[in-house]
């Protein structure tokens, strides 16, 4: 009897969660409180949010950041899914090399990477904002690679591709209509991860003198601090939604790879 009660009453867990929540939510709620102040009238309201949304740059930078993130996701999927499929099928000698390469961006501080990027590219690359998705791709590579790698390891890839090929599908069709649907959990995780990272990237973007939604807040802060706080609050919600998508689509860890 005592055992049942003990397993329901989780003092250490509850305490841990309370301390963590205090630490996490006090700054968040404090900032939120600021963002709904209305100094002119006194009291609270959504004025700062409305002010921010009504600014024409708001939509401009939202759209710009979104399509940059979208391009990053496309690059990631187009490059990684076929490559990883091939690596898993062929057991090629380059596997070790590519595994290592995919982890390398973890080693390089983003600031140092930014310095390298600034001095390396020819003008036609430097002058287009399209360099950003490729650089974001590099930053997301360790996570995206791992997510897809786990997904492909968990399925009988060889059998599936052989079945698809013998049923007459070419490689493109095999990947788009067989492999991607089978590992859709990993693919969704990769999309969400890459998308969230690209949307929120600040250091590289600002050091390469590009303007996106996260760097725009810097200018807003000089103009209207409460508006900037409101924008910051909104930018916190976006990754939260994206990562919720990840966990909805990705199977639990315990169901992966255990034999």
């Amino acid at each position: 009897m005592a055992k049942v009660i003990k397993s329901k009453f989780q003092l250490p867990l509850v305490l841990t969660l309370l301390i963590l929540m205090f630490f996490v939510f006090v700054p968040m709620i404090s900032a939120f409180e600021y963002s709904i102040r209305t100094p002119a009238k006194g009291g609270y309201g959504w004025d700062s949010y409305l002010w921010a949304i009504r600014k024409e740059e708001f939509l401009y930078y939202i759209i710009r950041s979104t399509w940059l993130a979208g391009v990053t996701v496309l690059i990631t999927l187009f490059v990684l899914v076929p490559t990883l499929t091939w690596i898993h099928l062929s057991n090629s000698k380059v596997r070790g090399l590519i595994d290592g390469l995919s982890l390398l961006p973890l080693v390089i501080p983003v600031v140092a990477f930014a310095v390298g990027a600034q001095i390396s590219f020819p003008e036609f690359v430097k002058n287009t904002v399209l360099e950003l998705p490729f650089l974001y791709f590099v930053l997301a590579l360790p996570y995206a690679y791992r997510a897809l790698d786990i997904g492909l390891s968990a399925i009988p890839l060889k059998t599936i591709t052989e079945a698809a090929r013998s049923a007459g599908a070419n490689w493109l069709r095999t990947i788009t209509s067989v492999i991607i649907p089978v590992i859709r959990g990993s693919v969704m995780a990769t999309i969400a991860l890459t998308f969230a990272l690209s949307l929120g990237e600040f250091t590289l973007t600002v050091l390469l003198h590009w303007d996106t939604f996260p760097t725009w807040v810097t200018y807003v802060a000089q103009e209207n601090i409460l508006g900037a706080i409101a924008i910051s609050m909104m930018s916190l919600i976006l990754p939260f939604l994206l990562l919720t998508i990840i966990t909805l689509f990705v199977p639990e860890r315990s169901t992966q790879g255990r034999k």
């Binding site: 841990t16 501080p109 990477f113 600034q118 791709f137 590099v138 600040f202």
Partner: protein
């Protein structure tokens, strides 16, 4: 024509090489090209340029300057804030991960995973705002503490000081620890604790002989990753400090912006290379330990 000549000269070898190249490398070409051009090339160029003088001759002088003031203090501060924020976050983070993974239900674990993912990536202006609102001079928590008789700002404290930055860094270091350490907790098999009890070990003995030795490598690995994250954080430091605290990432940023001018054009590159070296000292062991303990986690 030339192709034919070559093929006639060494027909089998040439073809075999081509075939093996296609088989072993071609499908990986897009990835290798992008990573090569957008990642390896800039890093290689960074290293190369860091050895160039203003006149484009080979020199060590950039590195010599990089180890002198104020850059020396920058490195010391950056290493210190990486070590301290990592060390302070590691233990509570590990304990939190332990209770969440072993006592929490699956819904709780998923929720925590999502939140940790978001929080570990907060930084820059939004994070600065959150702490200004809570612990700034007019912050809510500051007021509450003052009400209870503790005036945070009585001394030299400010959010842009070393101590202030350290507290702010914990906001993303703690969740990061939960994320990177949780897999190690999950990999502790229930069979091990049960076998230990069955063999006569009490809780203490189990932790001393089995639990802690098994978790220790992952703990160190996680700490190393936290160090690297605190050491190289740029956005948050940039948002909170106003040039009053020398930190390497900020110094590099300043040189890159042209806000700070140095007599040596390539000094920033040398600082970047040293940063990479220091970061590699932490991240490479982290990756090695992760790979090693993956063996048990099967």
């Amino acid at each position: 024509m030339t192709l034919q000549v070559i093929e006639e000269g060494a027909p089998t070898r040439g073809r075999a090489f081509l075939a093996s190249f296609i088989k072993n490398f071609l499908p990986a070409a897009p990835l290798l090209l992008i990573v090569g051009f957008f990642f390896l090339f800039p890093i290689a160029r960074l290293i190369y340029v860091s050895f160039l003088s203003n006149e484009n001759t080979f020199t060590f002088s950039n590195f010599a300057t990089a180890t002198q003031e104020p850059y020396r203090t920058g490195f010391i501060n950056s290493i210190k804030i990486g070590l301290l924020s990592g060390a302070i976050a590691a233990f509570p983070g590990a304990i939190a991960a332990y209770f969440i993974e072993t006592r929490g239900g699956s819904k709780l674990r998923r929720t925590i995973a999502v939140m940790s993912g978001v929080l570990a990536n907060t930084g820059g202006i939004p994070l600065a705002f959150m702490f200004y609102a809570a612990l700034g001079i007019q912050g809510q928590l500051t007021k509450i503490l003052k009400f209870f008789g503790w005036d945070l700002y009585a001394g030299t404290f400010s959010l842009g000081s070393f101590l202030g930055l350290l507290i702010v860094y914990l906001y993303f270091q703690l969740p990061l620890m939960v994320i990177v350490f949780s897999p190690a907790i999950v990999s502790l098999r229930r069979e091990w604790s049960e076998a230990a009890r069955n063999l006569g070990a009490n809780q203490f003995n189990y932790w001393i002989r089995i639990g802690i030795p098994l978790l220790f490598p992952s703990f160190i690995a996680s700490f190393l990753l936290l160090f690297a994250s605190g050491f190289s954080a740029y956005a948050t430091a940039n948002a909170l400090t106003v040039g009053n605290l020398p930190l390497t990432p900020l110094q590099i940023g300043g040189l890159l912006d042209g806000n700070v001018s140095a007599s040596q054009l390539n000094l920033g590159k040398a600082l970047g290379v040293v940063m990479i070296l220091i970061s590699a000292c932490a991240v490479i062991p982290y990756l090695a330990i992760q790979r090693r303990s993956a063996r048990w986690q099967k």
